[in-house]
Amino acid sequence: MELSTILKSVTKPGRYCGGEVGQVVKDKAGVKLRFAFCFPDIYEIGMSNLGMRILYDVLNSQKDIWCERVFAPWIDMEEKMREFDIPLTALESHDPVRSFDIVAFSMGYELCYTTVLNMLDLAKIPLRASERGEEFPLVIGGGACTYNAEPIADFFDLFSIGEGEEVLVELSELYISMKENGSYTKADFLREASHIEGIYVPSLYDVEYNDDGTLKACTPKYDDVPARVRKRIIKDMDKAAFPTDPVVPYIETVHDRITLEVYRGCIRGCRFCQAGMIYRPVREKSPELLCEQAKCLYENTGYDEISLLSLSISDYSKINELTDGLLEWTDEKQVGISLPSLRVDSFTKELMDKVSSVRTGGITFAPEAGTQRLRDAINKNVTEEDLLRAVGVAFAAGKTNVKLYFMQGLPTEEYEDIAGIARLASSVIDTYYRTPERNRAQKPQVTISAACFIPKPFTPFQWEPQDCLDTLREKQQYLKSQITDRKIKYNYHDADVSHLEAVFARGNRRLSAALEEAHRQGIRFDSWAECFDYNKWLKIFDKCGIDPAFYANRTYGQDELLPWEVIDCGVSREFLWRERCRAYESKTTPSCREHCSGCGADKLGGERTWCKNKKS
């Protein structure tokens, strides 16, 4: 059965053919380590992932390593693969993933776990680490989920915590040297690897539980294994590897543009946000380097839009130098600049004029909460004035569509906060009518998009319960009832997906039984509406004797040992608890730029960071 025959019988065969411009093909006999980089979602989603792009480039720059890409086949392709007994293969060589040395999964969100297991199954690799003998590849994991990898710990040989550019090379070098000098066995390798900073080997820890189900202890089995694994960071972002000749997909992906990573971390400390905490300390790249990289990327790809990627782009200290430097050539070459993640309080007319993404289409802001009281509690330091001023600028420039992101179910939330969301949207409509230069040819439209709050590890809200499903649904209906203006649209998704996410976000190793059972029942692609089945999950939890509310809806104790505390993300538990208490007092905390609040991440070092503000 030839691949080409199968490809012509599935949708979007361009996902599976490979051969794209920018792909790296090496002679497999000439390398010492074959690395299969797996993204647990379909091609179009994975190819937009910057982390994968960076690590693909870093690993392939090593002459002894060949890194190839693997994506999850969509359900129609999976059906054909199972029917004709075709194993999961890598895109560049079309060789079976089973034959590689290291199989790595990049996991950004918890709902990808069943897809990870499905890919292992399609690759014909046993799911549990304990079931894999020496003849199978090593299975390793990275990405944001590794900050609490406990629910999937039983399936992986090791995790890489934090930024992988250096540590994956070190890990690979260790692997190659042990293979070459004959000292390699999987157990010996994992023991050695546990000594590398940032590498967490779950099988080297004993996990004990209290009678009430909370974690009693997570203890290293040997003295040379660290009690806590500290994440890795790239200290100097200017010296960090950054691909300027990436693989360019043939088919349309989520982001068909140049993605330029501007800086890592965030100074704001919004209390619900995990990314803002786990990427600390803030480390910026120089504007000159960024302009150079942008130019190279343009010449190598031909994309006509540059997206400046960061957690909060207007907080980049050199944003004007960067945009001015880019505009020197982008206008002439018809290349647009896009600034996603723009804060409300920094949206000005001059920024609008510079940036094409705001010249076309609608405009998006994220107030997150409907009242100042709740915005203060979550530390989203943005006022109603800021928002109305920003939308005023947009309306004066001719825009009529505004999208506002909110969250529901936040800690300390009351029904008046939810009503506040509707009120805020109305104020935005009022601002439109009060703007003399507004575009009168079209009616204004405000779209409210409200997600459900999910407590995440290493945030001040990590101890907080998620509202139970009925409450979340009630709150959604309540907000709906508060909106009477036809010019305001309200988008929301069923809260059941968020509930599942919360279960795994704060889960422990006992959840692996549920994941395995879910896989056995054919569950994958949980983040896709056509595949997600909440009732199936409830039955699975029941069958495995697991109470999902224990993980999602329980308030974790102040003195409780949290399953993810085997990891050290830089930010201290004391800081997180302090911030949690301030939330309950509706007190805000200033940004790192204004005042250091002692989160602890400064101990990791870093260049071009705000941590120098710390008073010693």
Partner: protein
């Protein structure tokens, strides 16, 4: 890179035609994806071409025909307008240097015909089926030569049955090495364009072949030529 003495700046926009083959991995991408990708290749080649006007200017590309996903072609044409006169051999190199495997630049030249001169397109179709036999080929040949060949066409207002026989100007079929080999010439002008996939679905319906088990039956399509109404190769 372009050599200085070969560029002559002129105020007009100079029509340039590019002939290319779309094979290998490129057969799996749709026409729209091809347009998007080719736009990027033109930018990367640094060929100075005219851009569209309006809010989001991009290089203006006009393709002669489109091709279904899964079909290969040795005969695709694309027109652009150059802003500067450059020697064709240099253009060919500038483009070839940035093309992926599967897209081969066959020729670059200044045309004196229009895409509206295209009347028909010839294809080579190979059908692999367990029921293949010379008898089956004879039956198919008779069916196509006699007609009518009815297919159901979906339109905006519903469905219509149309006879595609008059859109087939040549049809040859033989039993070759266990496969059915077809050479045919189908209408390719805008009003009566006949996609070879439609011919295949007519044969599917009439003869029960290509029923869906791809391990036993599948087919390939290759566009070999575009022809004018006089039957000459389009250039």
């Amino acid at each position: 890179m372009v050599q200085e003495q070969k560029i002559v700046k002129t105020p007009e926009r100079i029509p340039l035609r590019i002939k290319f083959a779309k094979r290998g991995n490129l057969q799996y991408i749709s026409h729209l994806d091809l347009v998007r990708n080719f736009t990027r290749y033109i930018i990367r080649s640094k060929l100075p071409v005219w851009y569209t006007e309006g809010f989001h200017p991009i290089p203006k590309l006009t393709f002669a025909t489109s091709l279904s996903v899964g079909a290969e072609s040795e005969c695709e044409f694309l027109d652009v307008k150059l802003l500067e006169l450059i020697e064709p051999s240099v253009i060919k190199k500038m483009l070839s240097d940035v093309m992926p495997n599967g897209l081969e630049i066959l020729d670059a030249y200044f045309p004196n015909t229009k895409f509206t001169d295209i009347a028909t397109s010839s294809y080579k179709i190979r059908i692999h089926t367990e029921n293949a036999s010379s008898e089956l080929c004879d039956s198919i040949r008779k069916y196509v030569n006699e007609g009518p060949i009815l297919i159901v066409k979906k339109t905006k207002s519903g469905e219509r049955e149309i006879d595609i026989k008059e859109r087939i100007s040549a049809f040859d079929i033989s039993f070759d090495n266990g496969n059915i080999a077809i050479s045919c010439t189908l209408s390719a002008d805008n009003a009566n364009f006949l996609n070879p996939e439609l011919l295949i679905s007519a044969l599917k319906a009439r003869f029960g072949i290509l029923s869906g088990d791809i391990s036993k039956e599948h087919y390939t399509i290759l566009r070999t030529n575009l022809l004018t109404s006089e039957g000459r190769a389009f250039r």
